[in-house]
Amino acid sequence: MGKDVLRKRMQSSPFFVVGLSVAFVIVVSVIFLPFFTGYSPTANSLTSTFQKPDWLSHGLSGHILGTDELGRDIFTRLLYGGRYSLFIAAVVVLLQVFLGTSPGILAGYFGGILDTIVMRLCDIVLAIPNLILAIAIMAVVGVNMTNLIFVLTFAGWVDCCKVTRNNVLVIKNREFVHASVVLGASHGHIMFTQILPNVTTHIIILASQRFGFTILLEAALSFLNLGIQPPVPSWGNMIAGGRSFMTIYPWLVFAPGIALMLCVLAFNFLGDGLRDVLDPKRN
């Protein structure tokens, strides 16, 4: 697929353009804006609790979205929370791709008993709904950042594995693979230089879709106090913390809620757009 075709498709997919732009703005904001706001995300300031949003009347140095029950700047916490969410989602999705693709290729390529074992393993993980699996493991192994990443990864590598395996099953019977076998190529060479490039499109699409899902799952765990632990901010635990003050100061819940929705929406648009743009079956 040529670069011109890709560019043309990107421009003609409104979902892709909107998703990419919003996602870009979010990623740049959470990485760079915390350097300019001048507040700590965790330090309490009991003299300035529940302040109304200044919006941009004081520029970046005011409480743009107001302060919470402990006088912490909500906008700063929102940015740091976004950093954690995006960082965790990125690491988790990369791990899922790596852990899912490798057994997927091996199972699809060699077939037989290996395939059966890998697929049954997937069935077992799939037999327990993601959130329940995550909650149960989190309850047992204890709550910290490493375990959170492990749990989220463990709950989601299966999709990647199954998609890869199903694609490999189709591709390994194509003529160019037979040609490589005849030419005496090794299994490793065929799997990773002949077949892998042909499944990457599907993996990229899947990974972009998993990204939004992982953010949602992390938010749910943090909301249930099994993810990122206060006082470290995350959108999920900010919503949980703000619930008690919802009647007097709803902004505490609305700010992280809207941020969460916008962010996941942007990445889902991007994922959907990517599918339109990269779909090999489309003319």
Partner: protein, 306 residues
């Protein structure tokens, strides 16, 4: 048909066996000695050892597992450390609440989303289609956490129309069901739409048009049935995962079901309960998937041959 069902049944049992082994060892990895947790603080060394013998913790792991699994098959899920009663009893008390919530959600979600998806798919590219896709993408991006809290704020606090706590009347169902049904309806509408688009491209549909059958009849009689297969699979998966879906909603709306129980048990470090909820939800998921596969093989006879 019969052979297919037997094969799927065998697979289901195998998976459930593995899940039980997994959950058994997961809970053994949990920190803390269950014998100590059953006893009052500061119990003597002998009392702890006595309790370990009573709980069977002194025996090898495979014996413990065997005892555990035979107990489970007889309906004995162990004793809750937090409630000090039978786990099976606690679950039996709360399960109907979760089931009722799920049933209403699934019915409401399907009644709304299936027609929407079918209409969108058969009118691809129109305004109806665009708004259905927008509705679906919004729904998929909506965190249950945010949606639940937003519903409480708008309808409970701000407008004050509906109760946001507990169970009892029909009005209590509205907000939890709306929260659970929206993401579900979004996915159904989406799958229904793409299923319909794929089906309408098949040759047999062209043939029905060639015979002069009305478009409405083609859509709802001939195409609908085939577009239904992925929808049934999806609805089944969502129904099967209902305990997971209800954890957040039951916690926010104080709904006394299994999801809330799981959240409470994690906080109480009540591992026997966590383990049982894990097992019960996996069993439901497996059984519903089995039923879904059988329904699908009835709708589409080609599935048997795979």
């Amino acid at each position: 048909m019969f052979r297919y069902i037997v094969k799927r049944l065998g697979q289901t049992l195998l998976v459930l066996f593995c899940v039980s082994v997994f959950s058994f060892f997961l809970i053994r990895m949990a920190p803390g000695n269950p014998a100590v947790m059953m006893l009052p603080d500061g119990a003597s060394e002998e009392a702890i050892q006595e309790m370990e013998v009573r709980l069977g913790l002194d025996q090898p792991l495979y014996v413990q597992y065997f005892k555990y699994i035979t107990g489970v098959l007889k309906g004995d899920l162990g004793t809750s450390t937090a409630y000090r009663t039978d786990v099976a009893q606690i679950i039996a008390q709360r399960l109907p609440n979760t089931l009722a919530l799920t049933a209403v959600t699934v019915v409401a979600g399907c009644l709304f989303a299936i027609p929407l998806g079918i209409i969108a798919g058969s009118h691809k590219g129109t305004a109806v289609d665009f708004f259905t896709m927008l509705f679906a993408l919004l729904g998929q991006s909506m965190s249950p956490v945010w949606l639940a809290v937003l519903n409480v704020f708008v309808f409970g606090v701000w407008l004050g129309w509906l109760s946001t706590m507990g169970t009892g009347s029909v009005a209590h169902y509205v907000l939890p069901v709306a929260t659970l049904a929206y993401p579900m309806a979004a996915q159904i509408a989406r799958i229904g739409r793409s299923g319909m688009i794929d089906t309408l491209q098949e040759d047999y549909i062209t043939a029905t048009y060639a015979k002069g059958i009305r478009r409405f009849t083609v859509n709802w009689k001939y195409a609908f049935k085939n577009a239904l297969v992925p929808i049934v699979t999806l609805v089944g998966m969502q129904t099967g995962a209902f305990i997971a879906g209800t954890i957040i909603v039951e916690t926010v709306f104080s709904w006394p079901g299994i999801g809330q129980l799981l959240n409470l048990s994690v906080g109480n470090r009540d591992y026997a309960l966590v383990q049982s909820v894990l097992l019960v939800s996996a069993a439901f998921f497996a059984v519903i998937n089995l039923i879904v596969d059988i329904i699908n093989s009835l709708i589409d006879p080609r599935i048997n041959l795979r």
